[in-house]
Symmetry: C2
Subunit: 186 residues, 2 copies
């Protein structure tokens, strides 16, 4: 007896991604990307970053539109609050990366998503960045991500989606593991 399953459509082109995987297996040097931003100081702790160009698949490329992103500190830090704080940008990257992964994995597993939202919260003791206590780290003491997902799937299938997304997430890796950062003055 044949069963028919409606094909899930989460807007992710899994076929293209599987094709890319095949193409890159034959030319692995094309898989080396370089992501980039330029950051300009405005005044105080207010900066403006632009995201536009990147390098990938062997050549310099450009986003469809240039993004301009202001960062600042809030008024309780005696600043002007012209945008999110730098650490909030990291939380945005983490939530966006895990959410994109959930959509891609759901598509691959033929699970129709209806809605996905997450709260991403990072705790920080600012005695670190204020230089008050060298035992307190500057960064987050931990991050908690809580998803609410409505999908044509069992609770176990949904938990498995979220787990697989973590396993393939670039930003989850960046936050949970160390990355070497070199800072130079030209």
């Amino acid at each position: 007896m044949l069963t028919t399953n409606a094909a899930a459509d989460n807007g992710v082109n899994v076929g293209a991604l599987l094709g890319a995987r095949e193409a890159l297996a034959a030319a692995p040097e094309a898989a080396r990307f370089r992501w980039r931003t330029t950051c300009s100081w405005v005044n105080g702790v207010h900066s403006r970053s632009t995201v536009e160009g990147f390098f990938g698949l062997g050549e310099e490329r450009s986003h469809r539109v240039r993004s301009v992103l202001d960062a600042d500190h809030p008024e309780v830090f005696a600043a002007e609050d012209n945008g999110p704080t730098p650490v909030e940008y990291v939380l945005v990257g983490l939530g966006a990366c895990l959410t994109a992964g959930i959509a891609a994995v759901a598509q691959h597993r033929n699970i129709q998503l209806r809605s996905v939202s997450a709260t991403v919260e990072g705790g920080m003791d600012i005695q670190g960045i204020l230089g008050m206590d060298s035992d307190v780290r500057n960064g987050f003491n931990g991050i908690k991500v809580t998803y609410r997902i409505d999908a044509d799937a069992t609770p176990e299938e949904i938990r498995a989606l979220v787990a697989q997304s973590q396993k393939r997430s670039a930003v989850f890796d960046v936050v949970t593991n160390p990355t070497n950062v070199t800072v130079e003055v030209a």
Copy 2:
């Protein structure tokens, strides 16, 4: 003989920050902040995050304006490129944090900044996120930040500013050291 030095003004209220340090020394529980974003899936790998509320100095607070930040993948990943990629948001946070630190340290050292800009570039072999090679990490294989700084200071003083900024940067810590991330489904 008296010498007079013009007071540098980089727009950072160092007095307020030093005052905050004193106040927090007396009430260290007020230093516990919680930064937050909510991320909603739009379609495909496109998500929209909002940054507005945070907890700090003992109570729930709000940014002066709510920020709405779209993230997506570029067209070479068969996506619609409705915004920066999640990993680019991390680079924005890193550049913004180091740049804010440079302004704050310069103010504290009475160094007048004229211009500060940085290129922040992260290399990534996408064989990791595509699941092609388990020896390739999902995140950046390294990040390079290059500053161009014009200031009333010697090259050594400028290099020292940049070094001190790294030492006190929240995002530099997040990227270079591991942070525990818990992901749950509500």
